[in-house]
């Protein structure tokens, strides 16, 4: 069933890419829509029918290095999240891409990317993960390059080189793990072999650090974040949404797999790797917020915000403590929904008015009330105000920092998160304020420019989901705590 879930979008994507041009746009969209829904359905069926930790081997790359899939708690979480993001953003694209060229190519690569992400979520070992991770970089590249302008190509190249640099750092760790670990299969608690390890801890720590840094590239972690604010905004809006919402999280997934399933949390706890990791993630949180605050273009501002917010997640993981871990997962979900929603709003504004700069948006709220109300709610959530999803996740992240038991970081971490939250309010809310209150008062009846239903529905859906996540997060928290129990033994209070 896992194969089917990956195969459906691959086939549909290939049909679109290799097949002839479609004369009827409606049919093209219908086909893509059906393929997306069918793929998501297949993923759900795969999740339902496959037993926990049942391995499905595709073939052996070399002896001892099989390409195989397996489903555990983390894969379930990410697979469902991917589907929830990918399908609505795809539907949004049917409205948005009307004025873009080469729609067929876009949908083709969009479907292929979905297949690759599914493979990534279900990967059972590091080699498989690496395979899909590299493919993901390559297949999402056409989404970045879509409009073919010089700016887009430069951004695409930047994206590619940073991704490949990151991927090689991961490969470096892979080679070390292959030598000093028992297996490359993701195993809760790590795979390191104590006997082989004797006296090589320093080397292995360096390998772990490089892997975190390498996966951190996709997550936009300082110092390898420079590609993100360039690449995410140049893509068409729905692609920006999923790039920020989901692709950046794949870096997070890589870090989770590395830290908790290959090296093991205990191996890294209290080492320089953890310290440097904490410092880097906090730096990124602050740096991203400040850059976003200064940025004038709306989409670029959102991209900088992604840099900052994804590092919240990394900070939560870096505490190696269950509350931080829970916060990280919650924020992964919440940020995916929020940021994707915000990018879709930005896309709707561009689509309807052609305005891209923040200062041009005075009075936009009167023209597009529903869109801007959603924007405001999503912003409030991103800042971390109850009762939205962003509040719950930040609450756990903060607690994780305070209870981490690490000197300095238990105060510094939450403090940085708070300062960054203030900055977040500073760069998001003025748009709402000016949008609803600014502009020419004399216009009594502003022209309505609300986008079509196809574009509006996903935005509203994401807003609703974030609110639901904020109001009743118990189920999700319980689910994540179960995962955390297995991975982090220390400091669990039940």
């Amino acid at each position: 069933m896992i194969f089917t879930a990956i195969l459906i979008p691959v086939l549909a994507g290939l049909i679109l890419l290799l097949g002839p041009e479609w004369k009827n746009r409606k049919q093209l969209c219908g086909f893509t829509d059906a393929a997306l829904l069918l793929s998501f359905l297949a993923v759900c069926v795969a999740l339902g029918t496959t037993k926990e930790n049942e391995a499905v081997t595709l073939f052996n790359l070399t002896t001892g290095l099989p390409i195989f899939f397996k489903i555990d708690g983390v894969s379930r979480f990410f697979a469902v999240l991917t589907g929830i993001l990918w399908v609505p953003a795809g539907i949004y694209a049917f409205g948005y891409m009307e004025h873009e060229w080469k729609e067929k190519r876009y949908y083709g690569f969009y479907l292929l990317s979905y297949a690759v992400l599914t493979g990534l979520d279900f990967s059972g070992n590091l080699i498989t993960f690496y395979l899909f991770y590299e493919s993901m970089s390559l297949l999402t590249l056409p989404l970045v390059l879509h409009n073919g302008s010089k700016e887009a190509i430069m951004a695409g190249l930047k994206y590619l080189f940073f991704s490949l640099a990151g991927a090689y750092m991961v490969l470096f760790g892979l080679f070390l793990l292959n030598r000093f670990g028992n297996t490359l299969t993701f195993t809760a608690g790590g795979v390191l072999d104590a006997a082989l390890l004797e006296g090589r801890e320093g080397l292995l720590l360096a390998g772990a650090f490089l892997m975190i840094l390498g996966f951190g590239v996709k997550a936009g972690m300082f110092p390898l974040h420079a590609w993100l604010p360039a690449a995410h905004p140049v893509a068409p809006a729905p692609a920006s949404g999923v790039l920020s919402g989901m692709i950046a999280k794949c870096g997070v997934l890589g870090v989770i797999r590395t830290v908790f399933y290959l090296f093991g949390a205990d191996f890294l706890r209290g080492t320089w790797v953890q310290q440097v990791w904490l410092v880097l993630s906090l730096t990124t949180v602050l740096l991203g917020s400040m850059m976003a605050y200064r940025e004038k273009g709306l989409k670029k501002r959102l991209a900088y915000s992604t840099v900052s917010q994804v590092s919240y997640i990394l900070f939560g993981l870096a505490t190696l403590q269950w509350e931080g871990f829970t916060g990280a997962f919650l924020h992964t979900a919440a940020h995916a929904l929020m940021k994707c929603g915000l990018f879709l709003v930005a896309g709707a504004i561009i689509f309807k008015t052609g305005k891209t700069k923040v200062e041009e948006l005075s009075g936009i709220g009167r023209q597009m009330p529903v869109t801007m109300i959603c924007y405001t709610l999503l912003s409030l959530s991103l800042i971390g105000i109850p009762p939205f999803g962003g509040f719950v996740s930040k609450w756990f992240l903060g607690r994780g920092g305070v209870n981490s038991g690490l000197p300095v970081f238990d105060i510094l971490g939450p403090a940085v998160l708070l300062v960054s939250a203030l900055l977040t309010a500073g760069y998001l809310l003025p748009i709402s304020i000016r949008g609803f209150l600014g502009g020419e008062e004399s216009v009594v009846r502003p022209e309505k420019k609300e986008p079509s239903f196809l574009m509006l529905a996903p935005i509203v859906l994401f807003t609703v989901l974030v609110t639901v996540l904020g109001i009743c997060p118990d189920k999700v928290i319980g689910y994540i705590t179960e995962i955390a129990k297995v991975l982090i033994k220390e400091g669990m209070t039940g």
Partner: protein
């Protein structure tokens, strides 16, 4: 079954005679003879491979029934047969892929010469692979050089003649050094057959006599072959030779000819000098360093290039660097990685050169980057094939390049002193590779209104066949590498 023992010798002689016969034939007949010949060669080598794999040991074929130490011998093991089979296959695909270009660009009355040269080149490559006699190896090294020169300048423009002269000078320097080394070795040991030399060298090494001359000899032979296989910094002939010759010539030269010399070097290391002795001379460390330097500087030069053919040529310099790095590790694992990379690089580079021809063909024959924009839309098949070759070079899993990197890294991790430099340079070089190959791929996939006409697969059937088969070969090496690795290990075991 016993008759198979004659096959390696028959394969070599058959090529020789086919070449001679071809010189009296019309171009078309020469072409068909050449293709038929290669198919027969593949069959012969396949039988040899099967025979050696089943019997599990190498066999020696005594030429003309003169016994050692006077006679001339051929020796075939699994690795030799595998490489010979591979060489024939890649050569056929390269020739098929470039056939149309040959017919368009080479003068009608010279076309038959191309196939004469190709026959002789194959003959010399097979001889280099199979021979057990050092002097025979030298003779065929020269034959190889001459035919390669002919292949480079078959299309007579100013640049190709200059490139051929350059190639000739560097190559002769290389074979000169090899000859000097060989003479000294003959002087030291009194033998020309590899097995006999090895015994004497082992004795000399154990007794500690003639330590310096022995080291000098090994150094001369290594450097000679390194020049001929374009190890950095002896690579200056590469960009012109591969960049301006026809696509088939470039594919054959970069993926097969240089590999023939490297294989001869590996044979010398194992069968003439002895692995231990070679390792003790510290020449491995020099090879390791030059290999690392080549990996970086080859790629840097490739990034600067504005000519796609020369870019691919410089990439070869980097890849040869990989192979020498593997040899330079001085371990069995490193050697396996190096030999695997011989296969992997040959498959990928032949694909790149052939696909590149399709791309430039759809861009008015221009090799400049600015003219290639959007070429992959004009020639979809070549574009896809070029992308596949590039991904293999960059090292995406499922392609052969990834397995090479994996093997190199595994070898490096086992080698205490050389681990860090090897891994770091491997990393940098991978990224540099990605820089220029992905840059090219993005360019050929950037849509543009172009004055050039598109080409569909119907107009280029042979190129299609060649590209598809080479891509499949790359994927096969990448996905089912274990069987190749096993054969290589088995073959190395038979060297002893």
């Amino acid at each position: 079954m016993e008759i198979i023992r004659n096959f390696p010798a028959a394969a070599i002689l058959l090529c020789l005679f086919a070449g001679i016969v071809s010189s009296g034939l019309k171009p078309k007949a020469a072409k068909w003879l050449n293709h038929a010949l290669i198919v027969v060669e593949m069959a012969l080598n396949l039988c040899t491979l099967y025979y050696t794999a089943v019997t599990g040991e190498a066999f020696v074929y005594v030429m003309g029934k003169f016994p050692a130490p006077w006679g001339n011998e051929i020796r075939a093991g699994v690795l030799e047969a595998l490489l010979a089979l591979f060489v024939c296959g890649v050569m056929l695909l390269s020739l098929l892929g470039g056939e149309k270009e040959l017919e368009e660009k080479v003068e009608e009355n010279k076309l038959f010469l191309y196939y004469v040269l190709a026959d002789h080149l194959l003959c010399s490559l097979l001889a280099l692979i199979y021979t057990n006699d050092l002097f025979t190896a030298y003779v065929f090294v020269e034959i190889n050089t001459i035919s390669a020169c002919g292949l480079i300048m078959i299309r007579q423009t100013g640049r190709t003649i200059e490139a051929a002269v350059r190639y000739m000078i560097m190559s002769l320097l290389g074979s000169g050094l090899l000859l000097m080394g060989l003479c000294m070795l003959y002087d030291l040991t009194g033998h020309l057959l590899m097995s006999n030399i090895q015994e004497s060298v082992a004795r000399l090494h154990a007794s500690g006599m003639y330590g310096v001359p022995l080291t000098v000899t090994i150094g001369l032979m290594t450097v000679g072959l390194a020049i001929k296989s374009a190890l950095f910094p002896f690579h200056t002939w590469v960009p012109d030779a591969y960049g301006y010759s026809t696509a088939s010539s470039a594919a054959i030269l970069s993926s097969l000819v240089s590999k023939g010399y490297i294989f001869l070097l590996i044979k010398i290391i194992y069968r003439v000098i002895g692995f231990e002795v070679f390792h003790d001379t510290k020449i491995v460390n020099v090879l390791f360093l030059f290999g690392l330097a080549g990996m970086i500087f080859g790629s840097l030069s490739a990034i600067k290039e504005n000519n796609i053919r020369r870019m691919i040529a410089f990439s070869s310099v980097a890849q040869i660097g990989y192979i020498y790095m593997g040899i330079g590790m001085g371990t069995q694992a490193g050697m396996v990685a190096a030999i695997f990379h011989i296969f992997s690089h040959a498959a990928a580079k032949a694909l790149l050169f052939v696909a590149c021809m399709g791309i430039t063909g759809a861009s008015g024959g221009s090799v400049k980057f600015q003219d290639l924009t959007g070429a992959a839309y004009r020639n979809k098949l070549a574009g896809a094939a070029f992308t596949a070759g590039s991904l293999s070079m960059v090292g995406l899993p499922l392609f052969s390049g990834f397995i090479s990197k994996l093997l190199f890294a595994q070898a490096a991790v086992q080698n205490q002193g050389k681990m860090l430099p090897a891994l770091v340079v491997l990393a940098v070089s991978t990224i540099l590779n990605a820089v220029y190959f992905m840059k090219t791929v993005i360019r050929i996939y950037t849509p543009e209104q172009s004055p050039y006409e598109g080409i569909t697969w119907k107009n280029q059937k042979l190129l299609t066949v060649s590209c598809v088969l080479l891509t499949v070969l790359n994927l096969h090496l990448g996905c089912l590498s274990q069987s190749w690795e096993n054969l290589i290990m088995k073959g190395l075991g038979m060297f002893a």
